[in-house]
């Protein structure tokens, strides 16, 4: 396997959790809700996914546990931000703080435990093709799930009636309410979906990417996923580009550290965060303002009967 091929493979595995989490948050934000708790949901997904996989010996159960854990945290967020119309920014931050603590409690028994990474699929003939074989046909199943998810979210938001309603709720909850749609129910489902995605992204980190549990292992990936949503202008297919771009930066940083080009390792580690800031700046300069953000993003909705 050549060097380029190896790098491309690692970029894909680094990008997959970012993509999954970003797609979930994209749907949430399209419904007009800003959930800043992605980092918290992701890390609880990582801890509970790994714990469940160790306890049951099943990766599938681990993945499901990660999704479930993300959804439970998302439901707590929804109860406050939707049910009690609390400030969404602050509630999301609370979710992240809570998630970091809860993940530590869940994971404390499993620090140092190891298991095999999620198996890569191996198609008899296709996986052996030169260059593209391993990259296109030799990934783990969740990589394909993430790409299908991107297409699925695009299809749902732009080709189905339910997707249209969800976007309408995100643009003007008052109008959607007047038309008889249940704004809070739609938003609740969107938030649950976002939580499930964040939990899945976390489980991918602890079951396929590393594969072990260590406290604080998400290292800001949840926040980078939030930045990818902005970068993607709330468009699912652009989120794929964003995720792979950030995956690329992560991997570049790792390879540069391994080579030791005389650059301090801390400077290389800072790269993904600096790249996030740079990308946000470039996007804002090009767009001037948040013209493409859902108009009702972050504003609470209280139905007046």
């Amino acid at each position: 396997m050549g060097m380029t091929e190896a790098i491309l493979l690692t970029i894909i595995t680094a990008a997959t959790p970012l993509l999954i989490a970003a797609l979930g948050e994209l749907v949430v934000e399209r419904s007009g809700v800003l959930n800043l708790g992605v980092e918290g949901m992701m890390i609880v997904g990582a801890a509970s996914g790994f714990a469940a996989a160790i306890l049951t010996g099943s990766t599938v159960i681990g993945i499901l546990a990660g999704i479930g854990a993300g959804m439970i945290l998302a439901a707590i967020f929804a109860a406050l931000a939707l049910g009690l119309a609390a400030n969404q920014v602050a509630t999301g931050l609370a979710l992240t703080i809570l998630g970091l603590g809860v993940s530590g409690l869940i994971g404390s028994e499993f620090v140092g435990a190891r298991r095999d990474a999620l198996a890569k699929i191996d198609l008899p003939w296709l996986s052996d093709l030169p260059v593209v074989g391993k990259i296109l046909f030799g990934q783990d199943p969740l990589v394909y799930v993430s790409v299908l998810l991107a297409v699925g979210v695009w299809w749902f938001l732009w080709k189905t009636r339910a997707g249209l309603v969800l976007r309408a709720v995100g643009e003007s909850h008052g109008a959607a309410h007047a038309l008889g749609y249940s704004v809070l129910k739609i938003r609740f489902l969107a938030v649950l979906f976002g939580g499930g995605c964040a939990g899945l992204a976390g489980a991918y980190l602890s079951l396929a990417y590393t594969p072990f549990w260590s406290p604080g292992m998400t290292a800001g990936r949840g926040w980078i996923a939030l930045a990818i949503v902005v970068f993607a202008s709330w468009l699912p297919l652009r989120a794929v580009i964003g995720a792979y771009l950030f995956g690329g930066v992560t991997v570049l940083q790792l390879h540069a550290q391994a080579r030791g080009w005389g650059i301090p390792s801390q400077a290389m580690s800072a790269l993904p965060y600096l790249a996030t800031i740079l990308v946000l700046v470039l996007i804002s300069v090009r767009r001037r303002g948040d013209a493409q953000a859902p108009a009702a993003l972050g504003t609470p909705f209280v139905p007046d009967r």
């Binding site: 703080i97 301090p264 946000l280």
Partner: protein
């Protein structure tokens, strides 16, 4: 029958006091349930967490030491959140304040220096935090970049910079390769308030800052500008108060105060630079600001309460082998309950019969 939120016409004063108290009570109840889940005696654990740290003079001093950075940062964040500006990167501004201030302490180390060193360090700390805070503020004011994400990303960058300095050029050459700087000289450390003890003048500074901020917020035009920017942004624009100017101002103040907290922490309890100088004060201060109802005096009281969770968490780890992460869980739960209870300041619950939509 279903339950809906209905906007209140009145805002009774007792409610704004009752709401944080209710949140604290609910957190305690949830905490007791959590301890029971962990297989510990809930009442004993609550006692270790919230009563024992108030035991004697020593313990109270420790509480004030821990509360100092929380109060300083939270007062700054109060201004930010009041104006609807979301600085969530105080942790990074704290680190940069510590880095800037420590530069002077290390540069004057071993030279004949005078009593001017410490005040100059504090000023540098404020400037360092301010500079770091102004990056997201400028990006927001000039280019419309979302300040939430940029301020948070800069936390990671600041922590990596500190790590680089402490492991590299600022490492104590006689320190047996430990990643830490030399211990600061007496001229570069915070004076102790009462003879033998840990309480330093940083706490007095924090209290003074909270009082001054409360006065300015309530009585000055700038304070009015900040409150108006958050409560009625359109009215603020019509009044000619520039949104960009307010953003820069609140970020400069909150960044400066976080930087001050950073250099006070390093020149006070720590006495040297280390790779990690804060157990997340910058994030906990967000909770302090909200528990204090976005009011500087409230932040003063709430800061003392959250300092309790830090000390209680450490005690519980030693005495009852409860994982340290419980502190974070507590803090997260507290913020949830605070936000939930605050809803009832604006709304009341009302039961209405199920209407069939025609």
């Amino acid at each position: 029958m279903r339950v809906i939120l209905e906007r209140r016409d009145d805002r009774p004063a007792w409610l704004s006091l009752a709401s944080p108290l209710a949140a604290v009570t609910l957190t305690m109840i949830a905490g007791a349930m959590l301890f029971a889940l962990l297989g510990k005696d809930p009442l004993a654990a609550l006692k270790v967490f919230f009563i024992d740290p108030l035991g004697d003079g020593w313990a109270l001093q420790e509480l004030a030491v821990k509360a100092t950075p929380l109060i300083l940062i939270a007062v700054g964040l109060t201004l930010c959140y009041r104006s609807n500006t979301w600085n969530i990167g105080a942790e990074g501004q704290l680190v940069m304040g510590a880095v800037f201030g420590s530069w002077l302490a290390l540069a004057t180390h071993g030279t004949a220096n005078g009593p001017w060193v410490l005040p100059a360090m504090l000023v540098l700390g404020v400037l360092g935090g301010m500079a770091w805070g102004l990056i997201p503020a400028l990006l927001k004011a000039r280019l419309g970049v979302n300040e939430i994400l940029t301020s948070l990303m800069l936390v990671y960058v600041a922590e990596l910079l500190l790590d680089y300095l402490v492991r590299g050029r600022w490492r104590d050459p006689q320190g047996f390769n430990f990643p830490q700087s030399v211990s600061f000289e007496p001229e570069a450390t915070m004076p102790i308030l009462f003879g033998a003890g840990r309480l330093h003048i940083g706490f007095a500074i924090a209290v003074a800052v909270a009082l001054v901020a409360a006065l300015l917020m309530a009585r000055s035009l700038k304070g009015f500008e900040i409150r108006l920017a958050g409560e009625a942004p359109r009215a603020a624009r019509f009044a000619g108060f520039g949104t960009a100017r307010t953003t820069l101002l609140v970020f400069a103040v909150s960044g400066g105060l976080a930087g001050l907290a950073g250099i006070i922490e390093v020149a006070g309890p720590l006495g040297q630079l280390q790779p990690s100088i804060s157990p997340g004060y910058g994030f906990t201060a967000i909770i302090v600001a909200f528990l204090g109802r976005l009011n500087p005096i409230g932040a003063l009281i709430a800061g003392l309460f959250l300092a309790l969770t830090f000390i209680g968490g450490e005690n519980a780890q030693i005495a009852m082998r409860i994982p340290l992460d419980v502190t974070r869980v507590f803090q997260g739960l507290l913020l949830f309950f605070v936000l939930g209870c605050d809803t009832f300041l604006l709304y009341r619950l009302r039961r209405v019969p199920n209407l069939r939509t025609a």
